[in-house]
């Protein structure tokens, strides 16, 4: 099966590979996996706590070309968006952009799960901080 040119481009030149400090209060981390294939994906966002804008996004994916491309694209799309805007990214957008074939749709689902999980982690940290400052 041939990969689309966009998948190959992201696979050969992945954007935003790396890690952010997962213990920082302004960093949200999502780690998700697909038991169908054993792929594992980590996606992290660095958020401006005042404006909710995603200033940086990093990923690390151990999986096939489509999984790497899906997470690479996800980080590209998330940067500069607010967390609420980023939460609107759908796996179908990724499928369309990368022309993923049906057997690789689960890779885009994984990326959407990773986005949601990173945002949820960030929100949880913020709520915990607010609860703390209220308690003080």
């Amino acid at each position: 099966m041939a990969y689309s040119p966009k998948v190959v481009d992201h696979y050969e030149h992945p954007r935003n590979v790396g890690s952010l400090d997962k213990s920082a209060s302004n960093v949200g981390t999502g780690v998700v996996g697909a038991p169908e294939c054993g792929d594992v994906m980590k996606l992290q966002i660095l958020v401006d706590e005042e404006t909710g804008v995603i200033k940086d996004a990093k990923f690390k994916t151990f999986g096939c070309g489509s999984a790497i491309a899906s997470s690479s694209l996800a980080t590209e799309w998330m940067k500069g968006k607010t967390i609420d805007e980023a939460a609107q990214i759908k796996n179908t957008d990724i499928v369309q952009e990368l022309s993923l074939p049906p057997v690789k749709i689960h890779c885009s689902v994984l990326a959407e799960d990773a986005i949601k999980s990173a945002i949820a982690d960030f929100k949880k940290k913020q709520e915990a901080r607010q609860a703390q400052s209220v308690a003080k």
């Binding site: 038991p35 054993g38 151990f62």
Partner: protein
């Protein structure tokens, strides 16, 4: 896919006699070999039966796919129906995979060997647990059986990640 155990005339169980499995495959492949037939239609039928036999053998030869096949025959959850993993499992997988890439890039053979042994031990442990759970599920009905089948799915979910690690280490 049909029931691969039935195709090969074997009891639906996880701890198959692998020598017997191979023997049956060879015999059935020979019985259904298209070259045994002269009529074109008979040959086409034989080719179809051969393909089914091949597929059944592939499904049962490898313990992971055999477990998935048996779980399907027993009516357990399919891949993707239940994605549960132990708490913190994916984080650990992530860390191990990062370390694996490091030691492979460095060419640190001792560390690669150590990781390989660890992955093999984990694979063995999951397959052993799966075997025990199949025995438990086989003798039970109702909720006990359903719970055992669910636990098998979860062991297999985790096993997939170790299989991928093993592939990476072999590459």
């Amino acid at each position: 896919m049909g029931n691969p155990f039935e195709t090969l005339g074997l009891p639906a169980r996880f701890d198959l006699d692998e020598a017997d499995l191979h023997k049956r495959f060879i015999r059935l492949s020979s019985d259904h070999h298209p070259d045994r037939y002269t009529d074109a239609l008979d040959q086409a039928d034989a080719a179809e039966r051969s393909a089914v036999v091949n597929e059944a053998y592939r499904a049962l030869r490898d313990p992971e796919s055999r477990a998935n096949a048996l779980l399907a025959v027993m009516g357990g959850p399919a891949i993707g129906d239940d994605k549960e993993l132990p708490e913190g499992f994916l984080l650990e997988v992530m860390e191990v995979r990062e370390r694996m890439d490091e030691v492979l890039a460095e060419g640190d053979h001792a560390a690669v060997d150590e990781l390989t042994r660890w992955v093999e031990a984990e694979r063995g442990a999951r397959l052993k647990a799966v075997g025990e759970l199949f025995i438990k599920a086989g003798g039970q009905g109702g909720e006990t059986r359903a719970a055992a089948l669910r636990d098998i799915r979860r062991e297999l979910n985790a096993l997939r990640y170790f299989e991928r690690m093993a592939e990476r280490l072999r590459a």
